[in-house]
Amino acid sequence: MSFLRVNGLSARLKGAGHPILRGVSLSVAAGEVRGLVGESGAGKSMIGKAVLGILPKAVEVSGGEILLGGVDLLRLPPKERRARIGATCALIPQDPLTALNPSRRIAPQITDRLVDILGWDRGRALARAEELLAEVHIPDPARVLRAYPHELSGGMRQRILIASAFAAEPKLIVADEPTTALDVTVQKQVLKLIAEMQARHGTALLFVTHDLGVVSKVCDSLTVLYGGLVVEDTDVRSFFAGPAHAYSRALLAATPKYTDPQASLTPVPDAVIRDVQAEVAAADRRARHG
């Protein structure tokens, strides 16, 4: 059974009512790594944020359900929802530079969740934090735990965030473009590390990214979005063998090839964009007529 199942999730801007998600459905089984890809503005981050209950204030969910372990989060009172998300989910954020509190040392930022969620005492949590840092290959974990975030490099901070996400053994981790803010050499290491930690802990992963290269390396399955609409939902093997949807094919063709740096970049053709936009408009019409 899927641990996370999103059914017909719609979201829109408050006030203006502009749709952001148009009836998105997807599921993530226990231990599965699902990629969530699309251009900027396709709504891929919004899905992750909706699942974790951290949608921006200007966005509201207008329909559908988010089943976490079989319970619809959207029907729970806020307090229970927070507790349920906290106990089973974690986030690996995009920008390691703003994802750690600059005025607190590293140790409490990791141990807080062990204390809050698992009810451990500080001593035990601290020992576990040290283990976790060693697990993400940080040399001299005891020293790093005493450091402030600004004393550490971006790559180091991203490792800490990864360790911290896995700390309370969540069932699902949402990774929101975790490598976008890093430079290319560090990206590769971080990606490898996420894959390694995921395999070791057996955690389900919702991996938000715009990089199909990343998807091919870490994901089992993927969902392609355009304008808040699911365009394709498939497993990685068949996707890279040949995507079913014209937009997915164009997206795949637009990915730069590192094997052939001389080749010019292929944009997504206008005709494909027109077709997929027509699909989005059709979805809106269906939604209006119930």
Binding site: R82, G86, C89, L91, P93, Q94, P102, S103, D112
Partner: protein
């Protein structure tokens, strides 16, 4: 980079030492005034009116900074005036900071209707001209130390609220706040453990600035005779008196003025120095 950082640190150190040193002197003066003041600050002696400071010819021994037109010792009055200045700085500054920062933090982090209500209140509040507002307040409350404190708090809380709100809003958008919320932290707990420590350096700077402002406001109100009773020595009251006789006895005006100036400057520099020193991001 390391050089620039070192220089910032050295400069911060100097700022901190000079301003801290002066304020320590003022605090000592305030605490010890009854014992170290060479004369009774209220004692009048018309035969000793407008005596110049000790290093000018014609000075009276024992009156180091001269006397005013009523023969009261300027140095003793400055020392005693430090008590009122510091009381106002600490009490008014502290209360203003507590109220303003709390409202700003709530508005900036909780947003929504709380923000709407507090922001509109700030806008309306700031539309009143502050000096008129304070004079009006004192006129209603009657002169006295507590009226001054209330006037400062009522007028200046917006200074804190505005800045802290903006800062809390900026911090609230950071990913670490999102992470704390995913981990199931409540809103208020997140505000205190995650946001407050990051806003604190700003609050400290504002607080020291506010203390300086409180000293000035007290002086202004003394100057227009709306502070505490005119007999009690206050720096503003002394400046007001000295102004009338500046051509005959400049020292009556200049010494309290310089003291006031240095104290206000020291407060603002102390804030800057503390920020440079203790802000983990700058450090």
């Amino acid at each position: 980079m390391a050089d620039a950082r070192g220089m910032v640190k050295r400069k911060a150190g100097l700022k901190l030492w000079l301003s801290g040193g002066w304020l320590a002197l003022v605090v000592l003066a305030a605490l010890l005034a009854p014992w170290i003041a060479p004369q009774d600050p209220l004692a009048q002696d018309l035969f000793l009116g407008r005596m110049p400071p000790a290093w000018v010819s014609g000075a009276e021994p024992g009156y180091w900074l001269g006397t005013d037109s009523l023969g009261r010792d300027v140095l003793s009055r400055i020392l005693h005036g430090a008590r009122i200045a510091l009381t106002v700085a600490l009490v008014a500054g502290g209360i203003t900071c507590l109220i303003g920062a709390a409202l700003g933090l709530l508005a900036g982090f909780l947003r929504g209707w709380v923000d709407l209500a507090i922001s509109r209140l700030i806008d309306i509040w700031m539309a009143f001209p502050p000096v008129l507002f304070s004079i009006l307040l004192i006129a209603v409350l009657g002169p006295g130390l507590s009226s001054i404190v209330i006037a400062i708090v009522v007028i200046d809380w917006t200074r804190f609220a505005r800045v802290v709100r903006a800062e809390a809003m900026a911090q609230g958008a950071m990913d670490y706040v999102a992470s704390a919320q995913v981990a199931g932290r409540g809103r208020l707990s997140t505000m205190v453990t995650e946001i407050l420590p990051n806003v604190l350096p700003t609050i400290v700077v504002l607080l020291t600035l506010e203390m300086g402002i409180a000293v000035i406001v007290e002086a202004i109100l003394s100057f227009v005779n709306l502070s505490i009773s005119t007999d009690d020595p206050t720096w503003g009251g002394m400046i007001a008196e000295g102004r009338t006789s500046v051509h005959q006895a400049w020292w009556v005006l200049v010494f309290p003025l310089v003291t006031l100036f240095l104290t206000v400057l020291a407060f603002s520099q102390l804030g800057e120095g503390l920020k440079d020193r203790f802000d983990p991001v700058l450090r």
